[in-house]
C-alpha cells in the first residue's frame, strides 16, 4: 500500500527579523487600505503643524502669496524677532510659565491629598462631599465663569497671578484620578508605618506619594498641558496686556479689527506649541494612559 507522506503544514512564524518587504508582502488588501486611509488622515491631522512651522520662517510677503508656497524657499527668522519686539511675548511666556507651573504643582499636591483622604480614610460627610465634588464636573464652565469673574473682581484679583492661579489649584477630575489610583495601594503599608510611629504627614509624604508616582505623573502632565493651553479663563481674568498669557496674547492678533500680523501669528504659535509638542513626545506613554484612565470604567 502506498502511503503518502504529507508534509506537515507549517506556517512561517512571524518573527522580528523579517524585513519590511517581507512583512509588506504578507499584508493583505484590507490592511493596505487601512494604512493608506490612516496615513492620509494622519497627514491631514499633522498638516497644520507643518504649515505653522513652515510659514513662521517665511517673511510676511511670502506668506501672503497665492498660490501658497508649500515648501519654503527661504529661512527667515524675522517673524521670531518681531514676535519678541513688537509684542510683550517674553512677558506672556513668563506669565504662562508662572501660572502653569504653580497650578500644576498645586493640583498635584492638593488633589493627591484629597484623593488619599477619600481613598483610604473614613469620615463623616465623606459621601456627600465626594458627590458634590463629582457633580461639579458636570456643570458647564460657562455657568461658573460670570459669577467667578465677579468674585475675582471683588477680591481685586483681576490682572493678578493669584487670580489666574488660585481657582484652578484644584480640580475634581484630578482628585478623582488620584482617589482611583490610591485605592489600589495596599493599606497594610500605611498601617505598618503608623505602628512604627510614623506621623500622618509622614505616612502621606514618605509612603503614599512615592507609591503614587504613576498617577501623579499623569495628573501633572495633563494639568500642565491643560493650563498652558487654557484660553477662556485667562481671557476673562486679564485685561492688561502685560498680564496676558501666551494663548490670550496671541488671540488678540487675529480679528477683523486689526491688520493681522500673519508672520507673528505663525512664529508665536510655533514658540508656544513646540514646548508642548516636545513635552508630549517625551511623555507620550503617560498621556495615552491618562486618557483611558479618565474614560474607561474599572
Amino acid at each position: 500500500m502506498a502511503t503518502t507522506v504529507t508534509r506537515p503544514n507549517v506556517k512561517p512564524q512571524r518573527d522580528q527579523s523579517t524585513s519590511i518587504l517581507d512583512r509588506l508582502s504578507r499584508v493583505g488588501l484590507p490592511e493596505l487600505i487601512a494604512y493608506v486611509l490612516l496615513t492620509t488622515w494622519a497627514l491631514l491631522s499633522l498638516m497644520p503643524i507643518y504649515w505653522m512651522v513652515v510659514n513662521s520662517v517665511k517673511d510676511v510677503g511670502s506668506i501672503i502669496t497665492f498660490p501658497p508656497e508649500l515648501i519654503p524657499s527661504q529661512f527667515d527668522l524675522v517673524n521670531y524677532r518681531d514676535v519678541f519686539v513688537k509684542a510683550p511675548f517674553a512677558r506672556w511666556i513668563l506669565n504662562s510659565l508662572v501660572v502653569t507651573v504653580t497650578i500644576t504643582g498645586g493640583q498635584v499636591l492638593f488633589c493627591s491629598m484629597a484623593g488619599y483622604s477619600f481613598a483610604k480614610k473614613r469620615f463623616p460627610g465623606q459621601n456627600v462631599l465626594f458627590w458634590v465634588l463629582m457633580a461639579s464636573i458636570m456643570i458647564p464652565g460657562w455657568v461658573t465663569l460670570i459669577p467667578l469673574y465677579v468674585i475675582i473682581a471683588r477680591l481685586h484679583w483681576l490682572d493678578t497671578y493669584q487670580g489666574l492661579i488660585v481657582p484652578n489649584l484644584v480640580g475634581a477630575w484630578g482628585m478623582f484620578l488620584m482617589k482611583q489610583f490610591m485605592q489600589t495601594l495596599p493599606t497594610e503599608f500605611f498601617d505598618a508605618a503608623r505602628i512604627d510611629g510614623a506621623s500622618e504627614l509622614g505616612v502621606f509624604w514618605q509612603i503614599v506619594m512615592p507609591l503614587s508616582r504613576p498617577g501623579l505623573a499623569v495628573l501633572g502632565i495633563f494639568t500642565f498641558a491643560w493650563s498652558w493651553n487654557d484660553f477662556l479663563y485667562p481671557l476673562l481674568m486679564t485685561s492688561k496686556i502685560d498680564m496676558r498669557t501666551i494663548q490670550v496674547g496671541m488671540s488678540l492678533w487675529v480679528g477683523p479689527y486689526n491688520e493681522v500680523p500673519y508672520g507673528m501669528v505663525m512664529a508665536g504659535s510655533t514658540v508656544a506649541a513646540v514646548p508642548m509638542i516636545v513635552f508630549f513626545l517625551l511623555f507620550m506613554r503617560h498621556f495615552l494612559q491618562g486618557i483611558t484612565l479618565g474614560g474607561l470604567k474599572g
Binding site: P68, M113, A114, K121, P140, N229, M250
Partner: protein, 310 residues
Amino acid sequence: MIRMAQVKVTSTQIRSEPGILRQIWSARWAYFFIAPIAIIFLLFGLGPVLYGFFISLQDVKFGSPSFFVGLKNYVDALKDPYTWNALRVTLIFVVVLVPIATAVHLFLSVLIFRLPERAQTFYKAAFYLPAVISAVILTMIWWWIFNPTYGLANYVLTLVGAGTVPWISRPGPAIIAIIIMSVAGGGGGTIVLYTAALGGIPRHLYESADIDGARGWDRFWNITLPLLKPTTLYLLVTGTVGTFQIFTQVFLFTQGGPARTTETVAMLVYDTAFLGLRLGPAAATSILLFGVIALVAVFLFRTFSTDVEY
C-alpha cells in the same frame, strides 16, 4: 417624660457607635487632607454656581448698584431673538459635529486597532498631537488655511477644478470650516479611548461569530458596536456638553460674524457680559444653557445606556 429603654451596659456589650463629634475628631487628619480642595472648591467652584443663580436674578451692571429683578432676565433672554439665533447656531454644531466626529473617529480607531503595536502608537500620536497644541493655535492655523484668498483650502480646491469657497465671510461655509477643523484636526482623545475600549472586547465573541459565518460588517454591527456602547455614550455626552459650549473656535474664526450669524450661546454670554457689561442677563442666559445641556445629557443617557452582558 420619654421612656428610655433601660439597658445595662456591661463590658461584654458592643459599644454603640461613637457620637458625631467623636467621629469628626478621630477623623481630623482626613479633614486636614481634604481641606485645601474643599476650601478652594467651595469658594471658587460651588460658590460661583450658587452666586450665579443669584446674579441671574439681578440687574447687575458695572459701576451702578445692582437690584433684584426676579425672573426678568430670563424672560428677556427668552424673548430676545438673538438668544434663539445663538441656540440655533449652537444646535447646528452639536447635531452635525458630534455624531460625525464620533463616527469618523470610531472608524479610524477600528482601522488602527488591526495594526501592529508600533504602528498603532504612531498613528495615535499623530492624531493626538493637535490636541496637545492649544485650541487657540490650532484655530489660528486653520483659520489661515481657510483664508479665502491665500489659504491652502481654496488653493487645493482650485487645483482640483472646483471654485473657491468664501470660508470665513459667509456663515454656512464658516460653520462647515469649523466642523472640518474639529473632525480633521481633532479626535485624538476619542481615538485613544476607542482603541483602548476595542482592546477590551473579548476575542471569543468574534471567534464564535466567525464559526457562525459572520462577515466583517456583521461582526462590527452586532458585536463591536454594542460592546462599545459605554465608551460611545461617554464620548457622546462629553462631546455634546463640550460642543454646546463651543466658544474659542468661533471666537477666533469669525467672532460670531458676519452680523452675529455664527454666534453661539457661549459667545452670546461673553458678549452680553463683557462687551455689553450686563452680567445679570448674561448669567441668566448661561443658566438657560445649562438647563438645555442637562436635558440633552439626560436624554442621551436614557437612549444609549443599556446593560451589556458578556
